[in-house]
Each structure stands twice: as structure tokens, then as C-alpha cells.
């Protein structure tokens, strides 16, 4: 009986690739969109941070998540610390669950990722509620569901550079 996804032997990750992926995630978050797309847009920075927290916990952890949270706060014009608090909590959950997360099948990955991102968004919403007394509405949480759906694609893309090149001598 197969319990997890196909186990692969991957090449080590280049730190440059991690930095590049996080920066592109940040850029995707800044992309101006309107209407329905904006409601459905997942938090790409959070997703990529989550991925690296699970797969490279020695390189990307709570500190990096906090730093990107601060960047997100400035880019969004939010209060300092809103996203930083949420991202660091998300990184902590990811570090705690990372061993089982990397073994899960796609369907279970969806529920785990969606739930973790929902917790993250709940922290943002709660800080907003306490600090500014504004509730943003339920559609805000749709982004996490999209993130869960996009997760397999994201992990495939982030794994690509670590795939070993096919051996020309092998038949």
C-alpha cells in the first residue's frame, strides 16, 4: 500500500533559487487585479514561505516569514506587524507539521494548506478587528481555498530546479 506521494531523490536547493521564488511571490502579491480575481487571489508570498518552511526549515523559518510580513505590511499600507504576526505564526505551524506535510497525498495537502492559510488570514482579520474595528467580510477568506487548489502546481514548479538531469548513459 502506498502511503505518500512518489519519493524522489532531489538535488540540494540553491539559496539563490529560494530568494528568487520568494521575491517573485511578493511581486505576484503586488500585481494589480480587479473584481473577482482580486477576491480569489491567493497570498502567494505566504504560500511560497509555507513551502520553504516545510521543505527547507533550516533556511526559511519564522524570522524570514516575519521579515516578509513587514514588507507586505508596507506594500499594503497596513499597520506595521499585521502580516508579520500572521506570517510568523504560519511559519511556526508549518515547522511543527512539516514532517507529515511532506508525506501527504494531494487531497490531504489541500486541506492542510487551506487550513493553515485560513488560520493565517484569521490572525490578520482579528488584528484588523482589534486595531481598527473593521471586519472585511467573508469573501476575503476565498484566497486560502484558491491557494489550496494551486498548491500542487506550486510544489511542482518549486521542485523543478532540484530534479536531477536525465542520465545520458542510461537506456
Amino acid at each position: 500500500m502506498e502511503i505518500g506521494p512518489k519519493q524522489e531523490i532531489l538535488l540540494p536547493v540553491k539559496p539563490r533559487f529560494i530568494a528568487f521564488s520568494l521575491l517573485s511571490g511578493f511581486l505576484l502579491n503586488l500585481l494589480p487585479m480587479g473584481g473577482l480575481l482580486d477576491a480569489l487571489r491567493p497570498d502567494f508570498t505566504a504560500m511560497i514561505l509555507l513551502y520553504w518552511c516545510i521543505h527547507q526549515p533550516l533556511r526559511i523559518g519564522i524570522g524570514a516569514a516575519w521579515l516578509f510580513g513587514i514588507l507586505m505590511d508596507v506594500a499594503d499600507g497596513a499597520l506595521f506587524g499585521e502580516h508579520a504576526l500572521a506570517y510568523s505564526l504560519m511559519a511556526f505551524i508549518a515547522l511543527a507539521l512539516r514532517r507529515r506535510m511532506s508525506m501527504l497525498q494531494i487531497g490531504h495537502q489541500f486541506t492542510h494548506v487551506t487550513l493553515i492559510l485560513l488560520v493565517m488570514q484569521a490572525v490578520v482579520v482579528l488584528t484588523g478587528l482589534v486595531a481598527k474595528n473593521i471586519f472585511v467580510g467573508w469573501t476575503y477568506f476565498l484566497g486560502s481555498v484558491t491557494a489550496g487548489l494551486l498548491w500542487p502546481l506550486l510544489s511542482y514548479l518549486l521542485k523543478l530546479p532540484q530534479r536531477p538531469k536525465p542520465d545520458p548513459d542510461r537506456i
Binding site: L23, L30, P32, V74, G81, S88, K132
Partner: protein, 295 residues
């Protein structure tokens, strides 16, 4: 706690506590004090190139869309614009005559002539993604001599007010932002009031108007100019509905902004010219109590 062969610094729980406390400290100091303004401006300027880069796909798509428009559409639009210009020019002629008459009358009354403040044209770069507020970012900052507090308008009326200025861009808080106050007067009878943003919807809330106030659906609200931020007489909103429920002390009045608050890209930033109003007297109640200060 498991023993680790190699030291990896503090445990995740310790790190989480540290960063959570740091975030909370930042949250409180940002919400209540002004210490972090320079830090925010520095980070904002550093990520500005990224934000411009993120806009390139949209701009390219827009350029392609413009390029592929058919001539029919352009001819139709041209015709519509021409008829619009004709209508407007008629209004403009009347307006000029009225302005002359107004200047003359003001001279007669020896009143200060109202000068129109200098204005800077700016373009909206993007809406901020923060779901808690309605703000936009425009492409002019301290380098274009924009100051915080300046009024922002479009060709139809007031859009908002400059909230924070950075070297290359500035943040504009829209009039529909939650609890954003705009001092207005009703054009029909000159009644002064304050209109607030709802935050969630693209509508405005006219608060603190008693049940017997003379206000009707369709009334136009213009800026009163008594705050020193917005010049007087700019259109703000029209009254959409008036709900006079005797259960409440005030009537519930919903207004719709006249300006394209979230439609157009080009806006005009007006420098505020009038000096700030004098500070309120220490004890206004004692002087005004017998008269009954009705506004």
C-alpha cells in the same frame, strides 16, 4: 525536548514568542504613535521599483487593448465626446459669466476673493491590497511638492485626501474609507454637515442630521471649505435615500459620491492654500450655552 546533535539556535517556540512580541510592539506603536514613519517611508521607497514592475503586465495588456481597438469604436467615441464638449462649453460660458459676476459682487462686499489653489496632475498607480481601508497610491510625492492633507479631485468632484507622502508617490485615503469625514454643505439650502465613508461599500453616510432637517433625495452636497483642506464648492455626493425612522434620534441618510471614486486613473491634487482654522476656545460651552448652538 529532544536533544539535537547540532546546535540550531533557539527553538521554534522561543523564536515564535520573540517575533510575536516584536509584531505586537510594532502594531501598538504604529497604531498610537508616530515613531515609525521614517522606517515605513524607507521600506516603501525600497520596494517601489518592485511595485512599478508589478504594474508592467497590466500596462502592456492595456496598450495591446488600445492598439487593437477598431476604428468604428473610435469614431463613435469621438462623436460622443464632441457632443459632450458642446454641452459642456455651454455650461462653461455660463460659468464664466457667473464667475465674473461673483468677483464683482465680492468686490462690492469687500470680501476676500477666493483663489483657486495650484494643482498637480497625478495618476493612480494601484489600489492598496489592505482589505481594511480604501486607499489608492498616486505617482506624485514630495518631489512634486505634494503635502499630506491636500485634497484630491477628478473631473467631477472630490475623491479623497492625501494621507501619507513618500518621495516618489503618495497614499490617498478615499472619501469612502471607513469614517473618513468630509465637511459638506447642501447646495440647495446651505445647511452644513459632515459626510462619512462607509468603508465596506462605495457609499457615504450623512450623520447627525435630526429628523426635521430639510433634506431630500437628490440633494447635492458640495464641500463647505470650513476645514481648510478642501476648497469650497467642490461636488461631493448626491443624496440617495433618506430614512426618517422616529425610533432613532437622527435620520439615516445615504449618499452616493459624484466623482468616480474608483473609476478613473487621472486625478488632480490641490495644494491647500487656506491657513488652518484658529484653535477652538478653551470653554466654548459657557459662551454659547444661552444661544443654543444650532448648526
Amino acid at each position: 525536548m529532544e536533544h539535537e546533535l547540532f546546535s540550531r539556535g533557539p527553538s521554534p517556540a522561543v523564536r515564535l514568542t520573540f517575533f510575536c512580541l516584536l509584531s505586537l510592539l510594532l502594531l501598538v506603536s504604529d497604531a498610537h504613535y508616530n515613531y515609525l514613519k521614517t522606517l515605513r517611508a524607507g521600506i516603501a521607497t525600497a520596494i517601489y521599483p518592485l511595485q512599478r514592475a508589478a504594474m508592467i503586465p497590466g500596462e502592456v495588456a492595456g496598450a495591446i487593448g488600445r492598439y487593437t481597438r477598431t476604428q468604428d469604436e473610435l469614431v463613435l467615441e469621438n462623436a460622443a465626446l464632441k457632443s459632450r464638449t458642446l454641452q459642456d462649453s455651454e455650461k462653461l460660458l455660463r460659468y464664466q459669466a457667473l464667475q465674473q459676476e461673483n468677483i464683482h459682487l465680492r468686490q462690492l462686499f469687500d470680501a476676500k476673493s477666493r483663489v483657486s489653489p495650484p494643482s498637480v496632475m497625478a495618476e493612480i498607480l494601484y489600489d492598496e491590497r489592505d482589505p481594511f481601508s480604501r486607499k489608492v497610491v498616486v505617482d506624485k510625492g514630495t518631489q512634486a511638492h505634494i503635502a499630506a492633507g491636500s485634497a484630491v479631485i477628478d473631473n467631477q468632484g472630490v475623491i479623497g485626501q492625501v494621507l501619507q507622502v513618500y518621495p516618489l508617490f503618495s497614499e490617498v485615503s478615499l472619501i469612502t474609507d471607513k469614517d473618513h469625514p468630509t465637511p459638506v454643505e447642501i447646495l440647495r439650502n446651505g445647511l452644513r454637515a459632515i459626510v462619512f465613508g462607509f468603508g465596506s461599500s462605495n457609499l457615504l453616510d450623512l450623520r447627525y442630521m435630526s429628523q426635521n432637517t430639510d433634506i431630500k433625495v437628490g440633494d447635492m452636497l458640495v464641500t463647505s471649505g470650513i476645514d481648510g483642506t478642501f476648497p469650497a464648492g467642490l461636488p461631493v455626493a448626491t443624496v440617495l435615500s433618506v430614512d426618517k425612522n422616529p425610533v432613532y434620534a437622527f435620520s439615516r441618510i445615504i449618499c452616493k459620491p459624484i466623482a468616480g471614486v474608483n473609476r478613473y486613473r487621472q486625478v488632480l491634487i490641490l495644494a491647500s492654500t487656506s491657513p488652518p482654522p484658529p484653535p477652538l476656545p478653551d470653554k466654548p460651552e459657557e459662551k454659547q450655552a444661552p444661544k443654543g448652538n444650532r448648526k
